[in-house]
């Protein structure tokens, strides 16, 4: 599971570059097909349903980071176990060392085989609860000496995965690395005890061991007896041979200065300590480690799940899987079909009154206002003028134009068409310009004058719209008045 979780997390991180809309569509398409299951199940099912062709980063194949992490973790676990085994064997070999002169001192033996490992165990436990106020430096030390942390740091370095070491003393998000550290340490410890016990058994079987106890302090045998029977209490009832009796305790005291050593009849019994020693190592050394390993594995499993489910990217993914996809359609990139030409020019010469006809289109202005504009802005007075508009029928309009033409004695030379500058130039207006050209003569110049709502010349931007729209007519004598309303000098 870890392999997939590592891969999913990494993939989702890269997936952040995929456009949001694509991610939503992709994941909801998968999410709709998923059978109802827990969050973890749905994420894993999503992962296997994710098609290679779907938008997003490439899916990792072959030996993915996840696989390497999983293998690395296994190798580290086994390696630590083997290391523990060797150390345990070596330490036990030394600790049980007995050259026949003095018996093996039980205090030293159990101190090395049970005492020191228990100290290490306490250190491990110190790392577990996360940050403890006031104990920070102690926790740092505890974490620093943890072989689990060393292994984790090595793995991270080798794999380039920030997984096992970061923020060791940090909050809940680091549960995974903490429990992994615990598990690593327990493999080492169990290896240690396995090695030690194996060596002990070997030595018990093939050599004659003698145990005794010795201390500088003024301790009487009763105290030691109490200690021993307390230690042996858990198994005394069903394994009496591993629970030394007071006589044995009494008989096992030795002093190194005592040249006479231990009398022969007592020596015969000194070997009887071994079941007690083995049981003590097993019960007080190995058993807590085994229990802690079980708890560690269980919590590590949970932490691995939360590694996935607490990831904000995964929360977002679950949201995408479950939320109905609201598509709004569209996505067509539509270029403008509008002519980009610079548009029609302004008239090249000043308008003159001779043969000038003014047309007001669609009641863009009252005829009086239009005349006033012509007089003030261009300084001309049209010879004839008329109102035309789209509300008239085509024939009606033609009649009006013909009538105007006839009213200009010298022939129409110039036409000014006043229009609503705020309205878009429609094709029906272009049709009308065609009609003007047809009716009033091919030689006349036609100048379109778009006015604004207040009857003034329109601004340059609106003039530009008209100029560009009317350029579609391809009429060389068609103009749009300059924005200032003035013809160039």
């Amino acid at each position: 599971m870890l392999a997939r979780i590592v891969d999913i997390r990494r993939w989702l991180r890269e997936d952040r570059r995929t456009p949001y809309a694509d991610r939503v569509a992709r994941d909801r398409a998968i999410g709709r097909e998923l059978r109802p299951a827990g969050d973890l199940g749905r994420v894993l099912a999503w992962w296997s349903a994710l098609a290679d062709a779907a938008p997003g980063p490439e899916r990792p194949t072959g030996r993915t980071l996840g696989h390497r992490v999983e293998t690395g973790r296994r190798v580290a676990g086994v390696g630590l176990g083997v290391l523990g085994l060797l150390v345990g064997a070596a330490v036990a070999g030394v600790a049980f060392g007995y050259e026949g002169r003095y018996p093996v001192n039980l205090f030293t033996l159990l101190g090395v085989l049970v005492g020191l490992p228990t100290l290490m165990l306490l250190f491990t436990l110190l790392v577990l609860p996360g940050r403890l106020p006031g104990l920070k430096s102690l926790q740092t030390v505890a974490a620093g000496v943890s072989p689990g942390r060393w292994a984790g740091a090595w793995l991270d370095r080798l794999l380039g995965a920030e997984l096992f070491a970061p923020g060791l003393l940090g909050g809940a998000a680091n549960a995974f690395s903490r429990w992994q550290l615990v598990v690593f340490s327990q493999w080492l410890a169990l290896g240690f005890f396995a090695g030690a016990l194996a060596i002990a058994l070997l030595l018990v079987t093939f050599t004659d061991l003698a145990f005794g106890w010795s201390t500088t302090l003024n301790v009487d045998a009763g105290l030691v007896q109490a200690l021993v029977s307390t230690l042996a209490a858990p198994w005394a009832s069903w394994l009496p041979s591993a629970a030394p009796d007071p006589a044995l305790v009494e008989a096992s005291r030795f002093f190194r200065l005592d040249e006479a050593a231990i009398p022969q009849e007592r020596v015969a019994r000194l070997g009887e300590w071994w079941p007690f020693v083995l049981m003590t190592v097993l019960v007080y050394g190995a058993l807590p480690r085994a229990l802690l390993l079980l708890v560690g594995l269980w919590r590590l499993r949970r932490a691995t799940r939360s590694l996935l489910l607490d990831d904000p990217e995964v929360t977002a993914l679950l949201d995408r899987l479950d939320a109905p996809l609201v598509a709004l359609g569209g996505g067509v990139d539509e270029g403008s079909g509008y002519p980009e030409s610079s548009g029609l020019p302004a008239p090249s010469e000043a308008l003159e009154a001779e043969g000038l006809v003014m047309l007001v289109w669609n009641a863009a202005a009252t005829p009086a206002a239009a005349r006033a504009w012509l007089a003030t802005t261009l300084g001309v007075e049209p010879e004839a003028s008329g109102e035309v508009g789209i509300l008239q029928g085509e024939a009606e309009r033609r009649d009006a134009l013909v009538e105007l033409r006839q009213s200009v004695a010298g022939g129409v030379r110039r036409v000014v068409v006043v229009t609503k500058g705020w309205e878009p130039p429609l094709l029906e207006f272009m049709d009308f310009l065609g009609q003007v050209r047809e009716t009033l003569g091919a030689e006349a110049t036609v100048t379109v004058v778009p006015l604004d709502v207040a009857g003034r010349s329109v601004r340059a931007a609106e003039r530009d719209v008209w100029a560009r729209a009317l350029s579609r007519a391809r009429d060389p004598k068609l103009y749009v008045i300059d924005a200032t309303g003035e013809a160039p000098a």
Binding site: Y20, A95, G97, R157, A172, L328, S336, P425, L426, V453
Partner: protein, 467 residues
Amino acid sequence: MIPTFAVVGQPNKGKSSIVATLAEDERIAIAPTPGTTRTAHHYTLSIDGQPQYALVDTPGFQRARAVLDWLEARATTAQERPAVVARFVEEHRDDPRFHDECELLGPIIDGAGILYVVDGTKPYGPEYELEMQVLQWTGRPRMALINLIGDGDFVDEWRRALDQYFSIVRVFDAVGADFGTRLALLRAFAELDEGWRAPIERAVDALTAERERRARRAAAEIADCLVACLGMVERAPLSDADASSTDRRRELEGRLLERLRDGIRDREREARDRVQSIYRHQNLQRHDVAAELLATDIFTDEGWELFGLSRTELVVSGALSGAVAGGGIDVLLGGASLLLGSGIGALVGGAGAWFGGNELARVKVLGQSLGGRKLQVGPVRAPNFPWVMLGRAWVHHRLVAERNHARREAMSLSMGEESHLMDGVPDRLRKDLAGTFKALQKDPEDGQARRRLAEQVETLLGVEPAG
């Protein structure tokens, strides 16, 4: 057939803007030049692939008079009119003169409702009645929308005219409309036809839920960015030469500082892009100014490490393993000198770690050195740093979330006095945020604090920024 709404009217009245707003589409062509839209485009809202309603953006009327003339010449009774309109479209499909009219009438004779758009800031003219009549001839349910493009106010005269032809007349500012206004307009669409109510309601519900989801996603993105910026550090190996010369050390520090600033700026930019893409504003341009970061606000530290362990940790662990080994020697010696052996072992182990560490740190495994002297710049410790970052993100989110897809100009994020951005935050939320920031500045990996931050940011996004 799902409810379909053809958005029609003269060119340049904001038809495409209305569709862009409702369909949240920033790619629909909108331009001040009339005739921008050349063909009809459908924008279908669907929930999980189930279409609920469609909007059709169309080109504008160009020759309404000619169309009406054609129609009037062919129908005598009112009941014939829709069929005649259909015939008009059929017969003029390939006539370039009526290209735009066919595009806009096509969806209507296929059953779409009509949304007729005018510009209420320009005067009404009787020539508009020609197209209103054409629309009336189709016999389809219709509604008029008075869009507000410029500064004038002719809404009343428009209303009087539109009331003659449309059962519902509404003012709708295409570019200014916020989310609530959009939903209200959608609901109004449903009034055009009894059968349209259910799908429109579904769509409104889905859009509302989607909106909440977006806020949640945006909050998560913002929180992520904050956490990343709060914990951001830049480190580089510090060679012996660098360490011994103040100038070189300062130069390295300056480089790292620059890198840290860049890193924070890039991360912020990335989060902005993400938030925009959540709100379908991928291409929205921003004029953004990076947050000011003073060198004095930033924590600088020189340290040493091996396998990620600091020197102290290394020495302690060296001493302890020495002690364990010493204990072994004690045993070997018959247990006579337990403390002495352990003590010597601890001393030797600790000293070995202290002196040997440097050598070991230079060793490279798989191209990576195991450790050595390091210079670290960051994280930013200034107490107002998270507030400024959050305030900026908050303002940006508000602009993006309320941003209308018909608006095309770049968004400006100049934010005046940055330290006052958070003035509008309710006290309670401010206190909560302060607590979370503190936790995160202490430990950026604190998962619970991260989650809390995302929730608090979500609450914050629901609050209106001051000013």
